[in-house]
């Protein structure tokens, strides 16, 4: 069982042809991924107003894809309206905040406001982190009652700050995808934050899941670590059904 908490759907502005959801599913099959949480690329890199609704028919058609509703902390009125409109569909399992595209650093007041809004909906958020903002983000999470955040990328090149972030609050988890992974990084982090705080994410369809799966393979997870990292932590944080729907997903994958 593998749950990927960091996926995207839709075309990218790079020289890559991955805009069709069939690519998500093909690569998931190739890599043994059962469920993938996806945000719309358009909502991340351009406009949540149009990008989030565009994801709806994809989620309806492909139950192995679950939605991450993109929130721009600078437009919380848009986010509030979309949360009210789209969460009742039952197709979204969390939110996605990109600190760089939305020019809202992890430790900013805007981030705190966004997480406060999401906490009102009891919605966990996958938040892009790059550099030392991972610690600032953890401080914000600690201050916002009910906020639950998965810090994507482990802060990229500042991944050694992950234990400092983890120490700030037990309501922050970590996700390791990175296109330029440093050797030994995942084992180093696991040994310091514990397997209950790490969950698999790929950044597909931007990055091939094999990249992060290879890095996890290099970390030589125990069976107990693998269960937590590859699906159980994600299922608990995002409230994913690992009974019926997961079994259905496995069955679909086998077809």
């Amino acid at each position: 069982m593998i749950i990927d908490v960091h996926g995207h759907w839709g075309p990218w502005f790079f020289s890559t042809d991955v805009g069709d959801a069939a690519v998500n599913l093909r690569v998931m099959d190739d890599c043994g991924i059962d469920l993938q949480l996806v945000s719309a690329v358009e909502a991340v890199v351009y406009d949540p107003l149009t990008g989030n609704p565009a994801l709806l028919p994809v989620l309806r058609e492909h139950p192995r894809l679950r939605g991450l509703l993109v929130v721009d902390p600078r437009e919380l009125d848009v986010a509030a309206a979309q949360l009210a409109q789209l969460l009742p569909t039952g197709l979204f399992s969390g939110a996605k905040i990109h600190t760089q595209y939305a020019r809202s650093p992890g430790g900013s007041a805007a981030m705190a406001d966004a997480l406060r809004l999401l906490a009102e909906h009891d919605l966990p958020a996958l938040v892009h982190t790059w550099g030392d903002e991972i610690v600032g983000l953890a401080d914000v999470v600690a201050r916002v009652d009910g906020a639950r955040v998965v810090a994507a990328h482990l802060g990229g090149p500042d991944w050694r700050l992950t234990p400092s972030a983890a120490a700030r609050t037990d309501r922050i988890w970590f996700e390791p995808c990175w296109s330029t992974p440093a050797p030994g990084r995942i084992r180093w982090v696991l040994d310091r934050v514990g397997p209950e705080r790490l969950m698999f994410g790929s950044d597909a369809t931007l990055i091939h899941p094999a990249v992060t799966l290879g890095a996890i393979r290099a970390a030589e997870l125990s069976a107990a670590e693998e269960e937590l990292v590859m699906w159980r932590n994600a299922a608990e944080v995002f409230g994913l059904d690992t009974g019926g729907s997961a079994a259905d997903a496995v069955e679909q994958r086998g077809q």
């Binding site: 931007l206 091939h208 094999a210």
Partner: protein
């Protein structure tokens, strides 16, 4: 076994990490890597002649090929090292302008590249392919860009259309279809396996290879055939 075009030994001042030849050799087997092209960081960061001797010794000890490192902060010694490489039968030279704080516009970069091409050697080139690629265009070099990132794949393809000697390393082409797109557009002959084990999570590249949509003949080219062709022609 895979041939890796991006092996480094020594100490990286930026990270403080160090890797000896024996430690690198011990890490390759589990990755399915049988050898490759090794450069000394000592040559790239401190002293090219003694560093290149270190790389030659490591290569001899483990059955690898040597790529001489040159320091573009001292282009005169760099040119002398290119001559020495040719004299010694070393088949490749590695450029690392970013590590050395040297802009791609530095005259030494093109002078060294020209000398490498004249000697019939292969270039390994670090840095942003959009910056260093154009700086090496029009010189007739045969080069492997070891930091080619999938973010810049379109630009590499455009460069490769004009430069038959330009190749990309696999290390940072970790997107969903980069290997396949490059193979389709420029040919699998332009893709050279590189994973920089010990300095990069090489298993990620090995697993990307396993997940690739390359045909078996294309895979053979990428994992060894292309690098052997480049070195044999040198």
């Amino acid at each position: 076994m895979i041939l890796d075009g991006d092996l480094l030994v020594g100490r990286d001042l930026a990270t403080g990490d160090r890797l000896t030849g024996p430690a690198l050799a011990a890490s390759l087997g589990p990755l399915g890597i049988g050898g490759g092209l090794v450069t000394s960081l000592r040559a790239l960061l401190f002293d090219a002649p003694s560093g290149n001797d270190e790389a030659r010794a490591a290569a001899a000890a483990h059955g690898w090929h040597t790529a001489f490192g040159v320091d573009l902060r001292d282009p005169l010694t760099a040119l002398a090292e290119v001559e020495r490489a040719a004299r010694l039968g070393v088949r490749a030279v590695r450029l690392a302008p970013d590590r050395q704080g040297v802009p791609a516009t530095a005259p030494g970069l093109r002078a060294v590249a020209r000398a490498v091409a004249a000697a019939g050697l292969v270039l390994l080139v670090e840095g942003d392919v959009r910056v260093v690629g154009p700086a090496l265009a029009g010189l007739g070099v045969r080069a492997v860009f070891v930091d080619a990132h999938f973010y810049h794949l379109g630009d590499f393809v455009l460069l490769a259309r004009d430069e038959p000697g330009f190749h990309a390393s696999t290390r940072l082409l970790g997107d969903v279809d980069g290997w396949e797109l490059l193979a389709a557009d420029a040919g699998a002959e332009r893709l050279v396996f590189g994973s920089r084990p010990g300095w990069f999570e090489a298993a990620a590249v090995v697993d990307r290879l396993a997940a690739s949509g390359l045909t078996p003949p294309e895979r053979e080219l990428v994992t060894g055939g292309n690098l052997r062709r480049l070195l044999e022609a040198a």
